[in-house]
């Protein structure tokens, strides 16, 4: 099972800045192992962030996103103490959702 994300969500000047680190190999499918066999692609394809049931960011990713991906974005409307959920889904159908409190 995938390791938890690290989510930092901070309210500042009427905005919430969200920084997320995800534990994922982001294997491109272009590399070969030591035996010369191609390593199959394994990467996050979709990321979404929700606050109070509203999608505040939705992203589609390809294989070029770096290993252990980082994402930063900001949105308006939320306040300290609110919760934000981040979900990623990869090309093998694995998914993970983590929640953080805005501070």
């Amino acid at each position: 099972m995938a390791d938890p994300m690290r989510i930092r969500a901070m309210a500042k000047d009427g905005e919430v800045v969200v920084k997320v680190l995800m534990a994922h190999e982001m294997e491109t499918g272009q590399r070969k192992d030591s035996a010369g066999k191609p390593i199959p692609a394994h990467f996050i394809q979709h990321v979404s962030a929700t606050w109070q049931g509203k999608v505040v960011l939705s992203a589609n990713w390809g294989t070029a996103i770096a290993k252990n991906p980082f994402l930063e974005f900001s949105f308006k409307g939320a306040k300290k103490g609110d919760k934000i959920q981040i979900t990623w889904t990869d090309n093998k159908g694995d998914k993970r959702t983590d929640e953080a409190t805005i501070n």
């Binding site: 049931g53 509203k54 992203a59 390809g62 770096a66 974005f73």
Partner: protein, 156 residues
């Protein structure tokens, strides 16, 4: 051809649809979201095919898109890229890397209330132009910058 068209339409309509469903309190399942992944755009082997698959064959160069990217990256495996659009009505922001095996790196839908500003870290196979593509009010805008990739030492 049909498949291409459908995917392009899906990609184009995705932000609006999300907003609609969100207001209706009917969030789509993650599986459905993943199905929205534009196979043709993400599979495109060069920049032109990627732009075409995104429906962005016609683009306007814009000084209202700011890109934060190193002139010279310490390591091509992790290159920080930030994109900020000052174009009113920005609906989506995409990052494309001209000389990567597949050009499209990421596409972000920006719903109302979310800043048209995103940051992530990408892999660069070699020194390459990095393009930021912005969709606003149905039109496409673009800016680009060259990022050099270096070879390192022992790994300190």
């Amino acid at each position: 051809m049909d498949q291409t068209r459908r995917n392009v339409l899906k990609a184009g309509g995705s932000a609006g649809l999300l907003a609609l469903l969100a207001t209706a309190g009917m969030l789509r399942s993650e599986a459905a979201l993943a199905a929205d992944w534009n196979q043709n755009a993400f599979g495109a082997k060069n920049l032109k095919d990627a732009f075409d698959a995104l429906g962005a064959a016609n683009r306007t160069q814009s000084a209202d898109i700011a890109m934060v990217a190193p002139e010279i990256a310490e390591n091509g495996a992790v290159v920080p890229i930030g994109a900020v659009s000052k174009i009113p009505g920005t609906e989506s922001i995409a990052i494309l890397i001209a000389k990567n095996p597949t050009a499209l790196a990421a596409s972000f839908d920006i719903p109302a209330g979310t800043d048209p500003s995103v940051s992530t870290r990408v892999k660069l196979a070699q020194t390459s132009d990095v393009h930021i593509l912005v969709k606003a009010n149905g039109k496409f805008y673009e800016t680009k910058k060259e990022v050099k990739v270096t070879i390192g030492g022992c790994g300190g």
